[in-house]
């Protein structure tokens, strides 16, 4: 039987094998560099296009002349309002869900099933949440197209990610700490509340902030449930305004596209830049929390 050599022995003089290895390595690195380049191009283009529009007036005043001039103040305020309510609703629910999944998942098959379901929900595209919110909150519960319906939909949208990160963060709690707590005679609940949750908190907050950032940038969940386009006044936070739609940045951008020519291009780019900065600020916050937590425990 003939044996075929996969690699030819190195010839004298030139080390071909080393050269090939070097070439392969460079080929691989090229891809990572390309991705990095892509990110910076994206950011650079949007900054370049939007920077000239950004001014204090643009950020704080409402649109004028049928959306064709003025600022995007109400949209920013509306986005922040949506975020606030989503944060308040989704954080406790998500942490509770994650705790249930991590703590009460002894029966492995049920746990695996639940985990897979939540993971599937986390990857479900935003438009499905939008349709669901429309069917359930807007029509069935008769919230109407309103801030409240937007909160509920965005909460559902960001919940799976929070649940998963909470579960993952609780899993990183060292066994020693749990055992130590139990050996002290703390109940399971006390161990969780006093030891595991504080330990996992940075991880959980990272997840919460990241999912909020995702929710802040998505137009689809609020498209049918919470949004209004023509906003010339600032939304206030009151019981009545809960049942009224709000203007927000992603929807402003989506509508700005759908009705070409109404909103001048420089306003669109200014809004794009604002939205990106808002989302990236949230991300930077998450990265900072993560880095500081890592430093504290290592």
């Amino acid at each position: 039987m003939a044996v075929k050599l996969a690699h030819k022995p190195a010839e004298a003089g030139v080390d071909w094998e080393a050269l090939v290895a070097r070439r392969d390595a460079l080929r691989l690195r090229k891809n990572a560099l390309l991705t990095t380049l892509l990110v910076f191009t994206l950011l650079a283009v949007i900054t370049y296009k939007g920077a000239s529009t950004i001014s204090w007036e643009f950020l704080t005043t409402p649109p004028r002349e049928g959306m064709s001039a003025g600022g995007i103040g109400p949209m920013i305020r509306g986005s922040l309002l949506l975020m606030l309510g989503t944060f308040l609703l989704a954080t406790p629910l998500g942490i509770f869900g994650g705790v249930c999944l991590a703590e009460y998942g002894d029966r492995s098959r049920i746990r695996r099933f639940m985990h897979a379901s939540v993971a599937a929900l986390a990857g479900t595209p935003p438009i499905v949440y939008g349709l669901f919110g429309l069917a359930i909150f807007v029509l069935k519960f008769q919230f109407g197209v309103s801030l409240l319906a937007g909160w509920c939909t965005l909460t559902l949208f960001s919940l799976p990610v929070i649940v998963l990160t909470t579960e993952a963060a609780l899993k990183t709690v060292p066994e020693g700490i749990i055992n130590g707590g139990l050996a002290l005679g703390l109940s399971r609940w006390q161990t969780l509340w006093r030891l595991a949750l504080p330990y996992a908190m940075p991880g959980i907050m990272t997840g919460v902030i990241l999912s909020l950032g995702r929710a802040a940038g998505e137009a689809m969940p609020v498209l049918f449930t919470a949004s209004i386009y023509y906003a010339s006044t600032f939304p206030a936070l009151s019981w009545e305004s809960l049942r009224q739609p709000v203007a927000n940045l992603p929807y402003y951008l989506a509508e700005g596209y759908r009705q070409p020519g109404v909103v001048p291009e420089h306003l669109i780019w200014g809004a794009c830049l604002t939205l990106i900065v808002l989302v990236l600020l949230l991300n930077v916050g998450a990265i900072v929390i993560r880095t500081r937590a890592r430093r504290r425990y290592l």
């Binding site: 996969a6 690699h7 090939v20 290895a21 392969d24 390595a25 080929r27 691989l28 690195r29 090229k30 891809n31 990572a32 390309l34 991705t35 990095t36 892509l38 990110v39 994206l42 283009v45 949007i46 296009k49 695996r112 897979a116 993971a119 599937a120 990857g123 479900t124 595209p125 935003p126 438009i127 499905v128 939008g130 349709l131 429309l134 069917a135 029509l139 990241l210 950032g213 995702r214 802040a216 940038g217 998505e218 137009a219 689809m220 498209l223 049918f224 992603p250 951008l253 989506a254 596209y257 759908r258 669109i268 780019w269 794009c272 939205l275 990106i276 989302v279 990236l280 991300n283 990265i287």
Partner: protein, 361 residues
């Protein structure tokens, strides 16, 4: 005559026919023809027109017309004039009956797959094949572009890069993943569509560069972070003993990756790609902005046609939902279709995820 789009089983519509007093002829004609949007072969109902009652003193043969067999036609009736509102009601009385054909489901399915998408005309058509094909094409192209790039980057990160490079790269990926899809769409409008129009605009008379290719390119950017981080996780899950074993056998670096590490991480990599497929299929904003919004049947019969298919406007499922949802009247049957499309998307996703779970467990 407008056929009832919401005709229920055996529903009847009554039709009064009379002549105005100023009419001078001896006979009058009752003519019908279908709306341009009417496709009898897809109609789930059989429409029948029947004379119920003739006015007093007028003698006519009984009339019964199958409108499916005679979608266009004309009958002549002896004239009968009405002078007052009470007399109008004594004119010819016809009955239009909608009888469900035996193969309603089949007809709907046929229309679903074979017709085109025109939901707002008189006889709306919900053929979604073009939409489905556009969605599938966009997904295929985006995966074809993103997988080699993302996989290679992931291999670099997990097998070659120093921990410091990895630490730097992670936030960069997170930033890319965090950029809102609306913004990605606009980015495509300034960077990709003008380039496409410059390349093919004159040859194909493009009004813009929006279409399958532009969408797929931006989708590539959209799923790149997903593919990279998930594949990197999968690669890092490969136990070090395998790497060392391969090294001990004298494999080159590339051989180690290709023959040992990639096969070992296979299921995780497939899951990464499937997850990316699911995300692309459901992503709405990018398609909405970049697809052009015109439902078109893909045509690959000739190179020119194929190129046209790639760069001319199209429309996929998710942006259809977004567009239709904005202007459907609630409770109309039309309202149900976006939900149906949503369900199809969820089913596709479910399939992808089931596979993913199978690979992971």
């Amino acid at each position: 005559m407008r056929a009832p789009e919401r005709a229920k089983q055996g529903e009847r519509f009554l039709l009064l026919v009379f002549a105005m007093p100023t009419y001078t002829g001896k006979t009058m004609e009752l003519a019908w023809e279908p709306d341009v949007s009417f496709e009898p072969q897809f109609a789930p109902y059989q429409f029948r027109l029947r004379l119920v009652r003739a006015p007093e003193g007028v003698d006519v043969e009984p009339i019964e017309i199958d409108l499916r067999q005679h979608p266009k036609g004309c009958i002549t009736l002896p004239v009968w004039k009405a002078y007052s509102q009470e007399e109008w009601l004594k004119g010819y009385l016809f009955e239009l009956e909608a009888i469900p054909t035996t193969s309603t489901t089949w007809a709907t399915l046929q229309q679903f797959l074979m017709s085109d998408w025109a939901p707002t005309i008189l006889y709306p058509r919900f053929g979604m094949l073009p939409l489905l094909l556009a969605s599938l094409l966009i997904t295929t192209l985006a995966i074809l572009f993103a997988t080699p790039l993302g996989l290679a980057a992931a291999v670099y990160l997990s097998e070659q890069a120093s921990p410091r490079v990895r630490e730097w790269f992670k936030p960069i990926l997170e930033v890319l993943a965090a950029i809102p899809t609306v913004v990605l769409g606009y980015f495509g409008v300034v960077m990709i569509t003008p380039a496409l129009q410059k390349l093919f605009g004159e040859a194909l008379q493009l009004s813009s560069g929006r279409g399958l290719l532009a969408t797929a390119l931006m989708m590539t950017v959209f799923i790149l972070p997903t593919i990279i981080s998930l594949s990197e996780d999968a690669l890092r899950a490969v136990p070090n003993s395998l790497r060392e074993g391969a090294e001990a056998l004298g494999f080159t670096h590339a051989g180690r990756i290709r023959l040992v590490i990639l096969p070992a991480a296979k299921s995780g990599l497939i899951a990464a790609v499937l997850l990316a497929v699911a995300r692309v299929m459901g992503e709405t904003m990018i398609v909405w902005i970049l697809s052009g919004g015109t439902p078109t049947m893909p045509d690959f019969s000739s190179p020119t046609a194929a190129l046209g298919t790639l760069v001319k406007p199209t429309r996929a499922i998710p942006d259809t939902i977004a567009i239709e949802m904005g202007n459907v009247e609630l409770e109309s049957p039309h309202y149900g279709y976006p939900f149906l499309l949503g369900l199809i998307i969820i089913n596709l996703l479910g399939f992808a995820y089931r596979k993913r779970a199978q690979f992971q467990l």
